[in-house]
């Protein structure tokens, strides 16, 4: 065997703690090593050339690079090998930085460990085999889950690039939370005015198939080759027949259901369209409220419909779509502090009386009150008596940045939207007073700080640094008791209305959907990206991308930017007809496999399939496990589980691992 060893100083990162020259000298003596060189920056062009030239000139059969983590530069060095005609999988990395120099201080000891690490890698590379990348076909069709602004943007980007999109939205209409907003910071442009044209564009796009009032039920397959089952919930209205005339909605005698779109501030009928600009503009029957479904009587909507579009018998339907890439844009919910779920760590805010006092409302409710299309047509009225509130207190960080009662994280958008709320209030109620209780103002973003300054300086919003300890009603007012920590004094404000900037939290069913999709999630239920900086829209399951607030709290510009990023990742995938995947996957020895399928039980990626082996006459000889290389992530769990030692992980065979361990002895 002819093995080359290349020791990198990584500037001072390795060189400070490991005597690289000594390592190179010691490694030159290892059996099979014909070349052992140390160099300041092995990943640089001259560094790579040392390796490339050695492969050509010395006819190397294996290369060990002793440098940083393989996460960092394994690809770089393997490419260098392959440029010189050596199979890239004959290159191994010994991690002298993260596993050695960064975690030790003693130079002689670290140097000894470095030599051990290289010796292990040398013994491993001697047993490496040549591997070829796996190629799989790509279905050039994207699924977008969630029809808020992030999902809309992602769907339009992919569709405008020439590929088909299936957009699934669980609510009767697309538009998401953005459709509920009055005006948006920092420009105060009307939310509906900028959103609804996009919604219509989605609806009319020849390459977008919109499935509203639908949910993803099952995802099978793998990157480029997903098979997705979607549940189309029974709308009780035949979409193809309905023209959206609205007669059924007008005539429905049940008008007492709280409107989801109006955040409970107004009522809607049992058959309803969430809001007038809904897309699709087709109603849905709320079967829990509808008299027909509760008592079997009524049926007025069916009688008045000129198109015979009402179908009380409709059932949930399932459709299956072939998909190449999935963009998840399921968004967020506001933390409702009045209801604390039994299974969560939320302690609630009983002292604020939200859900108990009608005029203590949350941010989305204020959006509806301030919206021109809202229950009071944009006039600021408090819910209890429809009077114009003359003194409004806004409280930031309710549930956010509060380990004791809510969540540790910052919801990020509340500083901005609270400034906007206070500003909108002052614009509409000139003689009104607006107070904001804050912890500190986080207004990072283009024109954001300027926006907050404008609220304070031009619109005269009074900012008080401190927390509120209690809100209680007294004589038609709400006494807000808090502390002004700058003045060092307790403060009491007799407000007419209180707006709580409650935390943005993950959707209640986020974890369930994550399990269906195979997407990892964090302790809060937000979806987990692969790398917080360098791979922010990818997840560890290949072919699935994230957009918007399902990953963490985000404002509209961020959600839109992330959606376009996710779309571009999907388009990268669609750019080639075949996909190359790492060949380091599990492989079954069919001769020794006993067909116990323990491997199938432990595989987290559903990559193990049942294969029947038949003789020439077609008689079944035995059933064995078989690995789908498109799905296998090379984790090795099956390898460790197999009782008959019939599964090997290519590139990490038992022989290779044992050789490494033996080299240590």
């Amino acid at each position: 065997m002819k093995i080359g060893v290349y020791i990198c100083y990584c500037g001072e990162n390795i060189g400070r703690t490991v005597d690289c020259a000594a390592v190179a000298k010691a490694c030159a003596e290892l059996p099979g090593v014909v070349d052992s060189v140390d160099y300041k920056y092995m990943c640089s062009d001259p560094g790579q050339n040392i390796i490339k030239n050695a492969i050509r000139e010395k006819g190397l059969q294996g290369v060990v690079v002793a440098s940083c983590s393989p996460h960092m530069h394994e690809k770089t060095f393997r490419r260098a090998c392959s440029d010189s005609g050596l199979n890239p999988f004959l290159c191994e990395i010994a991690n002298l930085r993260e596993h050695c120099s960064w975690v030790h201080e003693d130079v002689p000891a670290a140097t000894r460990k470095a030599i051990d690490l290289v010796r292990m890698a040398v013994e491993k590379v001697k047993r490496n085999g040549e591997l070829e990348p796996i190629r799989v076909p790509v279905t050039k069709r994207a699924l977008v889950v969630g029809g808020g602004i992030a999902g809309i943007q992602a769907a339009l980007d992919v569709a405008n690039a020439g590929f088909e999109v299936v957009l699934v939205e669980k609510e009767p209409s697309i538009g998401g939370h953005m459709s509920q907003l009055s005006e948006t910071f920092p420009t105060l442009d009307c939310s509906q005015c900028i959103l609804t044209p996009r919604m219509v564009e989605v609806y009319q796009h020849p390459r977008i198939k919109l499935l509203s009032y639908s949910e993803v039920e099952k995802v099978e397959g793998f990157i480029g080759n997903f098979k997705v089952t979607i549940r189309r919930k029974a709308r009780s209205v035949i979409e193809e027949r309905c023209t959206g005339c609205g007669l059924c909605v007008q005539k429905c005698p049940t008008k007492k259901a709280p409107s989801e779109f109006e955040q409970g501030l107004a009522k809607r009928p049992a058959i309803y369209v969430p809001f007038p600009q809904a897309v699709p503009n087709k109603p849905v029957i709320d079967r829990n409220v509808c008299t027909h479904f509760r008592t079997g009587k009524c049926g007025i909507c069916k009688k008045v419909c000129g198109r015979d579009a009402i179908d009380f018998e409709q059932q949930d339907q399932f459709v299956t779509e072939d998909i190449g890439a999935i963009i998840v844009a399921t968004g967020y919910q506001l933390y409702s502090i009045s209801k604390k779920p039994d299974d969560s760590a939320i302690k609630g805010y009983g002292e604020y009386g939200y859900g108990k006092y009608p005029d203590v409302i949350d941010g989305l409710q204020f959006e509806r009150i301030a919206s021109a299309s809202g229950p009071s047509s944009g006039e600021i009225r408090r819910p209890s008596d429809q009077k114009e509130p003359k003194k409004v207190v806004f409280i930031q960080c309710v549930g956010s940045r509060d380990e004791a009662k809510g969540f540790t994280y910052c919801s990020k958008i509340c500083c901005m939207y609270t400034a906007k709320h206070a500003m909108l209030y002052k614009h509409k109620v000139h003689d009104g007073e607006a107070y904001v209780f804050y912890m500190d103002i986080r207004a990072g973003g283009k024109m954001y700080e300027e926006f907050v300054r404008r609220a304070i300086e031009e619109d005269g919003v009074k900012y008080i640094r401190g927390r509120v300890s209690r809100i209680y009603p007294s004589g038609g007012k709400y006494i807000v008791k808090g502390e002004d920590t700058l003045a060092g004094e307790p403060i009491e404000i007799d407000a007419d209305m209180v707006v709580l900037a409650t935390a943005m939290i993950a959707q209640p069913n986020a974890q369930k959907l994550a399990q269906v999709l195979g997407v990892p999630y964090d302790g809060y239920g937000f979806y987990q990206e692969v790398h917080p900086k360098l791979r922010p829209v990818e997840v560890s399951t290949a072919g699935i991308f994230l957009a918007g607030a399902c990953q963490s709290p985000k404002d509209i510009p961020e959600a839109v930017a992330m959606a376009s990023a996710a779309a571009s990742k999907a388009l990268v995938l669609f750019g080639s007809d075949q996909l190359e995947r790492e060949p380091t996957v599990a492989k079954v020895n069919e001769a020794t496999c006993i067909g116990c399928f323990y491997c199938q039980k432990v595989c987290a990626y559903n990559a193990i399939e049942v294969k029947e082996i038949r003789d020439r006459k077609g008689n079944l000889v035995k059933t064995v496990a078989s690995v789908n290389p498109g799905l296998c992530q090379g984790c090795g769990t099956c390898n460790a589980t197999c009782p008959s030692k019939s599964i090997e992980l290519l590139g990490y065979t038992d022989e290779q691992i044992f050789a490494e361990i033996t080299a240590l002895g």
């Binding site: 002292e351 209680y472 007294s474």
Partner: protein, 292 residues
């Protein structure tokens, strides 16, 4: 049913009627109260303001005695005693280093098993509303009660495990057994001023006034408490409030006194004559003026 009893200093002094009424009610319900023999001060506010070790060791000594005397559950009616006992128990259980120091201080290893420490509210929860209902003799239909929890009973939530720190309802649920109306009010857990009663009397008078005013505005004709400090502040400060003028008396009764009335016990048996503001005779059974 046998329950260990840690009266603490208040129940022999300012809160004598709490002790009297608790013993009377327990007797009526057939619960045996066993006073911990040789109990000592819990340390209350002075110990934990001066020495952490002392603040934990004093309650630990009492828990040790209870354990040695075969008591598995004890009731500490005073909210400060209760707070000190549960906090000491919690701290010792979660800090092996502190436990060793405490054991050195009290010159004995602490028993392994945990003693269940109850305040009066939890004691009645333990006894059960069914039993109270069954023993009820008088319907207190004339009373509208504002149940006042104060600060110490409910906090810290991790240790006391009360239903809700800000909007607790479990005392209300127990008092509902008396047949009285429970009012929904704002200051269930608001601070009464506590021990400032001695050093900053005007502050306590002001805070007590706010609590009493809100209770009255919410429709209460009596306030129920489960803490001697709360009681002395809310009851005694009304003397000053009378002098200020414009004040209308609002009787403040211990939870045990109200339950005692419902069990048919006499006013003297419950120590009702020891308050500054007396509950008017027959008030409890008189029909309410407006049961809105």
């Amino acid at each position: 049913m046998k329950i260990g009893y840690f009266p603490g200093c208040s129940l022999g002094g300012t809160a004598k009627e709490f002790d009297i009424s608790l013993r009377a009610v327990m007797k009526a319900l057939g619960v045996e109260l066993v006073e911990i023999d040789d109990w000592s001060c819990c340390g209350a506010s002075s110990a934990h303001a001066s020495s952490h070790l002392l603040a934990v060791s004093l309650p630990a000594r009492n828990l040790l005695l209870a354990g040695q005397q075969g008591l598995t559950e004890i009731v500490a009616p005073c909210a400060a005693c209760y707070s000190r006992l549960v906090i000491a128990q919690h701290e010792v259980a979660n800090d092996a280093g502190l436990k060793a120091k405490v054991e050195r201080a009290i010159e004995s290893p602490l028993p392994a098993g945990e003693i269940r420490i109850l305040n009066v509210v939890q004691l009645f929860e333990r006894i059960g509303p069914e039993k109270l209902q069954a023993a009820k003799r008088v319907d207190l239909a004339g009373l509208s009660i504002a149940a006042y929890y104060g600060c110490l009973l409910v906090r810290p939530h991790e240790i006391t495990g009360f239903d809700d720190v800000e909007q607790p309802v479990i005392m209300d649920a127990i008092l509902a057994a008396t047949g009285a109306r429970l009012v929904d009010w704002n200051f269930k857990t608001e601070c009464c001023g506590g021990a400032h009663s001695i050093s900053h009397k005007p502050i306590v008078t002001k805070l007590s006034k706010k609590i009493l005013d809100d209770a009255r505005q919410s429709g209460a004709n009596v306030v129920a408490v489960a803490c001697p400090m709360c009681h002395s502040n809310l009851d005694m400060r009304q003397v000053e409030l009378r002098k200020e003028g414009g004040h209308q008396d609002l009787p403040v009764l211990y939870l045990t006194e109200l339950l005692g009335l419902a069990l048919g016990l006499g006013r003297k048996e419950l120590g009702l004559d020891l308050h500054f503001v007396r509950l008017p005779e027959q008030a409890q059974t008189a029909p309410q003026e407006n049961r809105a």
